[in-house]
Symmetry: C2
Subunit: 669 residues, 2 copies
């Protein structure tokens, strides 16, 4: 039965498994463990004493392999939902003993074939014995070519030698000391990042550093196997985990990693605590403790529940559903009250700065909303006027005729007719009757300038008085290297170059953030400089903390921080993110070939914002530790139109499509 | 006019160019240099004083760029065959000076556009100033996306700091000292190995080590620019080159690299040597010296002339022309007399060993030719019998009914009826009336076992007496890492995985062999061992000589060495190749992503020969300095059939196709 109920949580981590010894009575084995409270077993599929080369002639004649009972002894649904097949741990495909090597390959293939026949969801592969596991990887890779939907969980002990142990951190392997991530990385590179190859981490009694652990959350970890040995004993004699282990298990729960209990119990059931006459499962105390940790989790906040379906889901710039969702998109965005409160605060500050108290009754401030949509910025502006007691004359410029319909009815409904002039026009054609004190817009994308806010506001600044103010007054994009194996595999699925040269909007969840963000491009408005250009080039050097160990960079997460006015910001950059604002997910720039970064060698990245006569695009590349190709050269795969046909409305509709980036679109999956 | 005539040589290296200063009178510039003996000029296309940001308003109004005359001043064919455009050398795309950077990008694009308009065949790009050339590469890469067939020659000075200069050979850049290959490599990786990006090497007065120079012969070097400064003076006061320079220039001639003379003359024409009244070209003495080196070349041997068309030409395993060429293929192979002389020598030695002189008249040796084809091995066997005075009873087993026709007429023609029995049969069905003393076959492919000789001979050894001998008695394959940018680009052209997971037969020419060959798989016949398997796994570690510098490995060249009997070999392994034997070109195993190997880090390669129930295939990967995926997993892209449908004839026909490897096929290009 599940570990507990957590509102909204439907992830696999509610289920807990147990690793068992081989038994040729699988039904009894299963019922014992299910009755003992576990949800599934990780069980040997074949007698571990079996060796193909040692079979007697009789065995060979009968043709039957020594499996744990025929497929008929369990129902198909029991096999698939209750049993993870365990491959015999004696196999060694990289030994010098040719007979053992051949036996190992034969056995591995026989057991996987058997597991496929049973329609198991996953098999657990024994841990590679060292970095010399190339033949093992070759054999597993062959199997992956022909496999059904079954997952192969490669067992990997969670260990990394301390930097002190490793005299020289250029050495991966120091005697027996090896960073087990390196083994995983070698294995998965050889298997070409196959999406059915995943990880079962063996949790040992001591844990590596936080940074080192962090790497695994970007990797396809499906299970964490905790041996009874790794538990401590609490004051009342019950098993418990160290604080660091507890934190790790909690993180596993949050990342859909299933816990598997393993080994022999090292705690005895306290006297008198046995229930009735039933035999209790010897590992029940450990299961109960894991259940306790699960139940102790905070409930999932509403916003996160709402966003569950978007986790690690690449929003394609070619999303065809977008066009039918415009009203609903407005709806979604307008619900982000935090964002409009920030706008209101910024407008208040500008009004207070420009109109001294003594002039409140004589001066009227001209405010233009560029891309008024269905009116949220008008509302924020009017609220600011009311709060500060300043008078406003608002022009709401909107190109989208559908939104203009809404605006007109809103004006009537709210009684805003005297304060607001609706301009149903393309701003490029509009001949403004007055110059504005304040230009308000919400044209920012997840990466700041990616929805062409710089181009739009540069055109709009002709409406502004020489001392006029733009809200936002500036914005900066940020970049950060991440491990994101799921995202990488989802991009790779398309089997083309275009998808690797496209940036995606995505709610990042199963990713490892490998280094702090760095600023990339900044735009300031208005910009009256002579040699102004909207082209940008930035070279970033990231240092991954050395106790992380090596890590694989699948691409870069992008964010923005915008200064609306003075100290009023909108931000999705993790360290300064505006709380409870949900209009933007991060952006993801993938790399065609993930880059392995070793401790001590910096990661050097170049990114360009390029402007052609009719389009705007990004190019990016890595030049250290080794060079990637330049992605999206000449905007061949991914760009935004900046030519005369461009429409300026709100960021949610036409402009949202300019760089093809829906920031937040309700799509059914 | 060309440097000279060399029989059979039709390569571009016959033509010599000259680098000139800017002139706005292009016709005069060209005729002066052509009359001076040069074949083409490398000339500025635009006034080097031009800066886009410094143009006067008048210039901008007129819209005309300061180019060296309009397109009409030369004929289209003169523009395209006589002029290589030189991009202004002042451009600097990686300077911190934003105005200069923008001017550079504008100018570069304007000049390339102009060169395209003129249909020039190539433009010379100025040398990158340092490893900080990423923005330059980005801009060139953009240009490459939209270019016509024009080549861009990136100017690269040929220099590499000595190991002594570089205190630490892990450091690529020591102050100003940088291995210019590193700059090229960075640039081409960023430009994704674009096939229109090539190299013009600046030859300086001192040269790097031989190993370091060797790398460039696998790179797309189109021109070598020799400055007059780099010439020495001979005893008679004329310019000449150092011995090492001479060798290098000779190697350039052989690799189709064009020489360009550059700079101001530093030698004066000896008094009295001026011809008539004509003004001699100031660089004429240098040109004459280069012509002298060209004319001194040995004529191309006949065999090489014959193979010219095959140089660096990947023979595709899907070559559809093959099927119509069988008789011609026999013809071609039978011409390889060296090969059959070796077979004859081997048979002689076996006969002498098995039949002592005193038994010559009483004993008859049974010899079976497995895959007799049109009879060359029968002829060699009979010659051996005659030379040694031993008696032979020959069975010629041949599956191909067309070849059997030829065999029968050959027997009549040569009067071999008494000595030879033709068996028109598939050897698997044949019930041999006697057991053989000697089994002779020619089933080897370029990589030894790749045409399934092991499988064939394993089946045939049942015909052999317990002490019988197989010719060949063993064979070993060899592998060697190579730089081969042309081959890599040709494979890449297919834009699929299959072609990167296929081995090709190819006459290697423009390649750099980076390390000595190492043995891979060995097969011995007959093989009576109990646990015998035809699967193989080999792990190789190559050390590239440290004075080479870094190098890019595009894949591996494969060869074989076969022991026919005792000391009689057939080999294409370069250090022990059988002289004048031409039946086999090497094999080439490509890598999906070329691997950059730095000095001091070994290159670790794994290769497997895998046998399934119905097919045989290779898998390969690199694991150091970093890991590649395993190529051709499960034989998904490339394999040979080993099932019941396999036919055994001669290696040139059916078996030649088994692994899809024509070793030498006459194809028109």
């Amino acid at each position: 039965m599940p570990l507990g109920e957590r509102t909204g949580d439907r992830s696999d981590s509610r289920y807990c498994g147990v690793e068992t010894e081989f038994s040729d009575d699988m039904p009894r084995l299963l019922s014992f463990n299910i009755n003992g409270g576990f949800d599934f077993v990780v069980a040997d599929l074949m007698d571990p004493g079996y060796r193909p080369s040692l079979r007697s002639d009789d065995d060979i004649k009968s043709g039957a392999l020594p499996v744990a009972g025929s497929d008929l002894i369990l129902s198909p649904s029991e096999w698939s939902s209750r049993v993870v097949g365990k491959i015999s741990s004696w196999i060694d495909l990289d030994t010098d003993d040719a007979v053992l090597r051949r036996d190992s390959e034969t056995t591995l293939k026989q057991q996987i074939t058997w597991a496929s026949h049973l329609s198991l969801q996953a098999c657990l592969l024994p841990a590679p014995r060292s970095m010399s596991c190339v033949n093992y990887a070759r054999c597993v890779n062959q199997i992956l070519q022909g496999i059904n939907s079954m997952q192969l969980w490669l067992r990997i002990p969670l260990k990394k030698p301390d930097d002190d142990d490793a005299m020289d951190n250029l050495l991966v392997e120091v005697g027996e000391q090896v960073d087990s991530w390196e083994i995983w990385n070698l294995f998965r590179l050889l298997c070409e990042h196959h999406s059915q190859l995943s990880i079962a981490l063996d949790i040992l009694s001591s844990l590596p550093s936080i940074n080192s652990l962090g790497r695994w959350f970007g990797e396809p970890v499906r299970a964490a196997i905790i041996n009874a040995d790794s538990f401590l004993t609490n004051a009342r004699g019950f098993p418990c985990l160290s604080k660091r282990h507890q934190k790790l298990v909690t993180a596993f729960f949050k990342h859909s990693v299933q816990i598997v209990i393993s080994g022999r119990p090292t705690h005895e059931l306290p006297i008198g605590s046995t229930e009735s006459g039933n035999q209790r499962h010897p590992l029940r105390l450990y299961l109960d403790y894991i259940g306790f940790l699960y139940q102790r989790l905070d409930p999932l906040p509403e916003q996160e529940r709402y966003e569950l379906g978007y986790r690690d889901f690449l929003q394609s710039p070619l999303q065809p559903l977008m066009d039918n969702l415009e009203a609903q998109t407005y709806e979604t965005f307008e619900r982000d009250t935090v964002k409009y409160i920030q706008y209101k605060r910024a407008i208040c500050k500008v009004l207070m700065d420009r109109i001294p108290d003594e002039k409140v009754s004589v001066e009227t401030t001209v405010l233009m909303v560029v891309g008024a949509g269905r009116g949220p910025l008008i509302r924020a502006s009017l609220q600011a006027a009311e709060e500060t007691g300043r008078k406003l004359d608002i022009y709401a410029v909107e190109k989208n005729p559908n939104a203009v319909v809404t605006l007109h009815s809103l004006l009537k409904l709210e009684g805003w007719e005297n304060a607001v002039t609706i301009v149903s026009s393309d701003m490029r054609c509009w001949d403004a009757p007055v110059k504005a004190d304040i230009l308000v817009s919400e044209l920012l994308g997840s990466f700041g300038d990616n929805e062409l806010s710089p181009e739009c506001l540069d055109g709009a600044q002709r409406f502004l008085k020489p001392d006029g103010v733009s809200i936002p007054s500036s914005y900066t994009s940020f970049l950060q290297p991440i491990t994101a194996s799921k995202l990488y595999n989802d991009v790779k699925l398309h089997k083309d170059l275009v998808h690797f040269e496209t940036a995606y909007v995505v709610k990042l969840h199963n990713v490892a953030r490998l280094a702090p963000c760095q600023p990339v491009f900044t735009f300031t408005h208005p910009d009256y400089s002579a040699q102004k250009t909207k082209q940008r080039y930035s070279k970033l050097e990231f240092d991954i903390p050395s106790d992380t160990g090596s890590a694989l960079v699948h691409g870069f997460a992008g964010y923005f921080d915008a200064t609306l006015y003075k100290d009023v910001h909108l931000s999705i950059e993790p360290t300064m993110a505006t709380p409870n604002m949900f209009s933007w997910f991060p952006i993801f720039f993938p790399l065609k070939e993930p880059v392995c970064v070793r401790p001590g060698s910096p990661l050097e990245v170049h990114i360009w914002r390029c402007c052609g006569s009719a389009k705007v695009w990004y190019e990016w590349c890595v030049t250290s530790p080794y060079s990637s190709p330049i992605h999206n050269s000449d905007g061949r795969s991914y760009w935004g139109k900046s030519n005369a046909q461009r429409k300026i409305t709100t960021c949610h509709t036409e402009l949202g499509k300019v760089l093809g980036l829906p920031r937040y679109v309700l799509i059914s999956r």
